[in-house]
Symmetry: C2
């Protein structure tokens, strides 16, 4: 049996704190743990030494410390999207036969960080690491549409609306209207704005902080696109994105007032 008793006890103490009792007295802990109060005292002082526990000097009570937040944040930081998303993207690709892309925002551009090839003919040139402008791509729109006004303003400052096809949006006013629409619909699409003959649909992925941190997309030759197809694809993408988001901590106990 490799369980170390004192460590085990220290960790169980951390678990005692809950919604209803965020501060505990030594004697409370000692009676609940069936340990002598001097033993609990030593355990607490050790935990306190590394800030896993803090003491309220006003009343002597103990509570969980900031170190837990710091380390906890680190865990989430290191849950990388790519590995979490992989199996979901494969599933969706399998189901539809299409190629699925995973894209993040870097500065003012999207960057493809993963793709899963489908059985259907490849219609869009892509490569992991490739960059794509936000103003003319479904993924770009999905990535920026949910940013705060400040962040969006920073991205659009001195933005160059380079024209890729005759359909490309080339001014801020139209682009903002387009983003409004993305927010309303919950998905983004480009209508041959990036490559003639190709249309792309994309939805955002959020993490524990509720911020959009990535987008997934599916591309279609334009002749296969119609109202019904768009709706179907958007629904499937949304479902997949929701599953990924959840696995990244989205909806895990929002912390607000």
């Amino acid at each position: 049996m490799p369980i170390i008793q004192s460590v085990d006890r220290a960790l169980r103490i951390l678990d005692l704190f809950d919604e209803y009792e965020s501060e505990l007295k030594i004697t409370d802990i000692s009676s609940r743990m069936n340990l002598h109060k001097s033993t609990v005292h030593s355990l607490l002082k050790t935990l306190q030494h590394y800030n896993y526990i803090e003491q309220n000097l006003e009343n002597g009570k103990y509570k969980l410390g900031m170190k837990l937040f710091e380390r906890g944040n680190f865990v989430i930081h290191n849950l990388d999207i790519r590995s979490v998303a992989k199996k979901h993207l494969m599933e969706l690709s399998m189901k539809t036969g299409n190629t699925i892309h995973l894209v993040i925002l870097d500065g003012k551009e999207g960057v493809y960080i993963d793709k899963v090839e489908g059985s259907a003919a490849t219609i869009l040139y892509s490569r992991i690491g490739r960059r794509i402008p936000v103003h003319c791509s479904a993924v770009g729109k999905a990535l920026v549409a949910f940013k705060s006004q400040e962040e969006l303003a920073a991205i659009l400052k001195d933005y160059e609306y380079i024209s890729q096809t005759p359909k490309t949006i080339t001014n801020e006013k139209d682009f903002l209207i387009e983003l409004d629409n993305v927010r309303k619909e919950g998905f983004a699409m480009d209508n041959q704005e990036n490559e003639a003959g190709v249309s792309c649909i994309s939805v955002p992925i959020r993490d524990h902080s509720e911020h959009v941190i990535a987008a997934i997309s599916m591309s279609q030759p334009v002749h296969r696109i119609n109202k019904k197809a768009i709706k179907e694809i958007a629904e499937m993408l949304k479902e997949t994105a929701e599953n990924i988001s959840r696995e990244l901590g989205f909806g895990v106990k929002a912390s607000s007032i």
Copy 2:
């Protein structure tokens, strides 16, 4: 010396994981801690038992576990603004002699959740629990100016711009322009828009998630207000707000890609 060695070692192991090495082998840990690998093994298994550590089954390496995130979130959740803000508000009130208010957003209105009376004559009727519209108050503007477009839209949907004084802003267009200005300046003010003869200056408080969760404000009789005074007050409020925000976890290692 009340430090318990095995607990101390377990906690130090948790601290070994960092940005560059989020997964570690037992032998790595053992050499860095100057402990025998079987000792480290026991410690890890104990930590793993409560999910403070997880093992990557593909390569046998260990990494921080989800429990840390769970407990960390709990710490933040239980840090309540009021108690954290109190001493900062008292300090500012003492320094300036003015009454300081602490306000949060509830639905489409601000709610006063705390106030610290200054020595100067009271000029604004206020009471903890009192509600105040967002469109005609400095605190209201500070609370909503940094919301996402979606949240702001939800607040302003069917919003009634009730006129409180001849100076009250009574339409969305002007209000949005005003909010733009708040974002640009970093502080909000009302210019007798809520009560004739009184002007108020307010700045937002953010928490670990970087969202605005409250605002603090200082009120002045209008005859004491001028460019220089506004600037001075705004600076003091900003400094206080920054201190509170920091204590609430703002800037403690943002987690994004």
